[in-house]
């Protein structure tokens, strides 16, 4: 078939066959790319192990859902739609890109199987893909340059603005699709002029428009455009390829693997070192992350994969209240540090210490481990494990803020952060009515269920009321339960997450022995931190449920009956605790429990409910830390409740209760708003046999 134009495979310019460039550009491009990738892999190869090849089918499905399916992207609608279009476009155009490279070497090249109807369908698809990619890029440019969404902004302390990087890449992408449109469009125009059968061009697509615009253009212009567009495309393509691993667009390459290798076990914390058992820990020279090379290879891959989208920091409660923590910049700073330490050419920038320079102590201690960042990240980047690892390093070197040393010492000596006496741990049970007895499960008392109370409920004056309400409710529901009493120690949930792994293990081991000795077959708790610890940090203990799960099962069969709401005029809202909601996916049971009260009027804090719940301020050791912040998280949350029109905030966590009640006072809303624990709410509405 006669070609309407000379293809890049056959042309000569200034006496040089252009096929040389068709070969050279890809070769050099791929060569440089390979070198860069090898350099990027270097620190990963030396890094500590991180087993991620278990449960392959699950991983594959998650990859399809999150990476290919872009499942999280629509959480920010506008950006989400744009990105889905760009990603779909990339996927579709991948074949075209390969074809184009080969077209420069062999005229009229088609990939195997593309010569028939399949090829035509693909040709149409790719034309529309290129067109909507162009549209998406223009929309994205507009957002970046004109709208400038807040979350992309770079606070001064983190350096210069990143907009140029985004705009450059958008322009490169637009260049790619435009060049292809011109390359093919010029050919189409030539074919039409010469009366040859034209390329398949999707009607109203960019390519089609290009062809029809060029329809009457002189032949040599078309030829020039054809070759020019081709080599421009190749240059842009391979430049882009090599540019990807140099910045945030590395995620284009690493996203699918990063999601495939994601952390599957929500709510857990990685061991100090994978492959090192608890009883071998004493032999380790050093704990935690003290320098960049101490991170695992997957964490390093996470740093590479950050797309700088800012969704994590936009949902980070610490960031929102002005604490020096922005998860996005942890990734960006570590990524940049890695690039500087393993530079493309020359020597690494002087060995700067990692902690204190790249990451700061206050930044690391500010995190409440609420998980909002991890819930939001479209690339499934993990933050909590990294922060815990850095904390482990700080603890190992004795660099613990004074405000945390006191409760840690108290936990070591007394098994609770308040330093109160062990023998008084069950004193809260003394103020109960006669018909409610709380068995202490040591010596001879036994029961089916263990109510694990934990430290704050045992010792805090206000929270003891939740303990008593729990005891009353469990009794009314006919559950045979007991508590560990003075033998109970703090569950150690925050001790682990604040980096004191060995103290956590001591607490865990003591509690495990005490639990196993009771012979119970089930554990219940009203404290989500305790729930998460027993469920994910402890091993070989009976199954554990949160009180909301236990009670909802008593409501349905009528074991627990509820009377109509005390005050029908009050509007209730439910605040999802981080360790019940995000970390354990328990969103519905507490809501069903509240709704089971006849006549209760409940509203949602629409933009910030369920997995977008806003952390109250943190629990456990976080209550003792003195952060640098502009406002308290609890105050922000109380304002959200007020905006939703609520009079009563129902919480299901003792730490949320402390933080929210405090915030109600300091926001001056005393009298206007009230915080109530879920169990207290049920306690007040229980119908007990008269």
């Amino acid at each position: 078939m006669e070609a309407a134009l000379i293809s890049p495979a056959k042309a000569t310019v200034l006496g040089i066959p252009t096929v040389i460039f068709s070969l050279l550009i890809p070769l050099v491009g791929i060569g440089i790319f390979t070198y860069i990738i090898a350099l990027r892999l270097k620190p990963l190869v030396k890094a500590s192990s991180d087993p991620r090849l278990d449960r392959l089918p699950t991983r594959f499905l998650k990859m399809l859902k999150y990476a290919v399916g872009q499942y999280r992207h629509p959480r920010y609608k506008d950006a989400g739609i744009i990105h889905i279009l760009l990603f779909a476009g990339f996927m579709i155009l991948a074949l075209r890109s390969i074809t184009l490279v080969l077209l420069g070497i062999s005229e009229g090249y088609l990939l195997p199987g593309m010569d028939g109807i399949l090829g035509d369908i693909y040709a149409i698809l790719k034309d529309y893909a290129g067109t909507f990619v162009l549209g998406a890029c223009l929309a994205a440019m507009y957002r970046r340059i004109i709208i400038k969404p807040e979350r992309y902004a770079v606070p001064a302390k983190y350096g210069k603005d990143h907009t140029w990087e985004a705009v450059l890449v958008l322009m490169l992408i637009m260049g790619l699709v435009t060049c292809d449109m011109v390359f093919e469009g010029s050919l189409g125009a030539a074919q039409i002029q010469k009366g040859l059968p034209p390329e398949v061009m999707a009607p109203m697509s960019g390519t089609w428009l290009a062809a029809h615009t060029l329809r009457f253009a002189p032949m040599d212009l078309l030829q020039t455009l054809h070759l020019g567009a081709y080599f421009s495309h190749e240059l842009i393509f391979f430049f882009f390829l090599c540019f990807l691993p140099l910045g945030k667009h590395f995620h284009v390459i690493t996203s699918l693997p990063n999601v495939f290798l994601m952390k599957l076990d929500k709510g857990t914390i990685k061991p100090v070192q994978w492959g090192v058992d608890d009883d071998q820990l004493d032999e380790l020279e050093s704990f935690g992350v003290k320098k960049f090379e101490d991170f695992t290879w997957k964490h390093m891959l996470d740093f590479y994969s950050c797309a700088d989208c800012g969704r994590c920091s936009d949902n980070c409660p610490a960031n929102a209240v002005g604490r020096p923590l922005s998860p996005r910049f942890i990734s960006i700073k570590c990524r940049d540090y890695s690039f500087k330490s393993y530079p493309l050419k020359g020597k690494p920038v002087d060995g700067q210490p990692f902690i204190g320079n790249v990451l700061e102590e206050d930044e690391i201690w500010s995190c409440t481990t609420c998980g909002a960042c991890e819930e939001e990240c479209p690339l499934l980047i993990e933050y909590i494990d990294k922060i815990v690892d850095v904390r482990r390093g700080l603890v190992d070197d004795g660099m613990v803020p004074q405000s945390l040393q006191k409760p840690l010492n108290a936990l070591e000596k007394r098994g609770n952060p308040y330093g109160k006496m062990e023998k008084k741990r069950a004193d809260w049970t003394q103020d109960l009515p006669e018909d409610v007895t709380v068995k202490i499960l040591e010596k001879k008392e036994t029961a089916n269920t263990l109510y694990f109370v934990d430290s704050i409920t045992s010792y805090d004056d206000r929270i003891q009321e939740i303990g008593r309400a729990t005891a009353r409710v469990l009794t009314a529901a006919g559950i045979d339960f007991g508590i560990l009493g003075p033998a109970e120690r703090d569950s150690g949930h925050e001790v682990r997450r604040f980096g004191e792994e060995m103290l956590f293990q001591e607490l865990r081991d003591r509690n495990t022995d005490a639990i196993v000795n009771t012979g119970v077959d089930h554990i219940v708790t009203a404290d989500p931190h305790t729930f998460n610890a027993l469920k994910h940090d402890y091993r070989d203990i009976p199954p554990v449920t949160h009180i909301s799960q236990t009670l909802i099962e008593c409501i349905q069969p009528g074991k627990l009956r509820l009377k109509p709401v005390e005050d029908p005029n009050k509007i209730y809202t439910y605040h999802d605790p981080c360790y019940l909601g995000r970390h354990n996916n328990i969103y519905d049971d507490p809501r069903s429990l509240i709704d089971a009260i006849p006549g209760i009027h409940r509203v949602e804090m629409a933009a910030n409910c369920r997995d977008r719940s806003f952390c109250c301020g943190g629990g456990g050791l976080m209550l003792f830390y003195e952060p640098i912040e502009e406002k308290r998280m609890g105050q922000v949350r109380v304002e959200m409740a007020k905006a939703a029109g609520a009079d009563v905030i129902v919480t299901a966590c003792p730490f949320c209760m402390v933080n929210i009640e405090d915030a109600i006072k300091t926001s001056g809303l005393e009298g206007e708003m009230v915080a109530m624990d879920l169990v207290e709410l049920i306690d007040r509405h229980m119908i007990t046999e008269a």
Binding site: D396, G398, Q405, K413, R414, G419, E501, L503
Partner: protein
């Protein structure tokens, strides 16, 4: 610089409820938890920071028996290079002078440049530092909240005095200083640190090793002895306002008006 820090094992006042026992001979010790005296911990941290700056070594020493060894170990986990336990039956019941005499005997076995103690301990006496200095004829400064090294012959110290002011002195080495809380931020010692030093050998020196005559120490040598513990009868104290919060606020408001509390 060779630094010696004198430490003491004491009940942690923040994690204990201190009560007198039934017969008034002691405080109720059954449920007490102990750690290193808070002031001494600041002193050890300061010593470690000085050593890290100019080299040398930090030795911690305590006078007591087996159960006191744990604080020596803890401070070694914190970073002290050596630990010593001075223990002997004849030491029991020593008063401040006795303890100081025992420490003096230890100090004379080696050449130290600086001796630190905490400004006070659980008995609130704050005496050992000053006594030890006088026995050694070394200069002394108490309630030190700042140390600046000048050279290997002298240092500059700040003392905490009234009104939040600081008294700056220059003092020749070797000297004795008693350290006030807040001079630094002591580093954390975790379980891991304690485990690392669990099997270290801590030398024990007895009266014989130190060449101490029993009559000068212990109960026999003590001129000040504690006889008993008691809780003093509370005087009348404040008039406690009763009633509902409303009523209390009313009464308080009136009082403030009459006493000139409201402007």
């Amino acid at each position: 610089m060779e630094i010696l820090v004198c430490i003491k094992r004491a009940p942690d006042t923040s994690e204990n409820e201190i009560e007198v026992n039934r017969d008034g001979t002691d405080i109720e010790r059954d449920d007490l938890v102990y750690s290193v005296n808070e002031w001494d911990n600041y002193a050890v941290e300061e010593a470690i920071q000085i050593r890290d700056k100019v080299g040398g070594s930090v030795t911690v020493v305590t006078v007591g028996d087996d159960e006191d060894e744990e604080v020596v170990r803890r401070e070694m986990a914190m970073g002290a290079d050596h630990g010593l336990l001075l223990s002997d039956e004849t030491f029991n019941g020593s008063d401040g002078r006795g303890i100081s005499a025992i420490l003096k005997a230890e100090v004379e076995k080696k050449k130290y440049d600086l001796i630190l103690t905490g400004a006070q301990a659980d008995d609130g006496a704050g005496q050992v530092g000053g006594m030890l200095a006088a026995m050694l004829d070394w200069p002394y400064a108490s309630l030190v909240n700042l140390i600046e090294l000048i050279d290997d012959k002298k240092i500059k110290v700040g003392r905490e005095i009234a009104g939040g002011n600081q008294e700056m002195n220059e003092i020749d080495l070797p000297c004795v200083l008693s350290i006030q809380t807040g001079i630094n931020e002591p580093r954390y010692v975790g379980i891991r640190g304690i485990r690392k030093v669990a099997s270290l050998e801590i030398p024990v020196h007895s009266a014989g090793d130190l060449g101490i005559a029993p009559e000068s120490v212990g109960e026999t040598g003590a001129r000040t002895k504690r006889i008993d513990y008691f809780v003093p009868e509370l005087g009348e104290g404040a008039e406690i306002l009763e009633g509902s919060t409303e009523e209390i606020i009313d009464k308080l408001f009136e009082l403030l008006k009459t006493k000139g509390g409201l402007k």
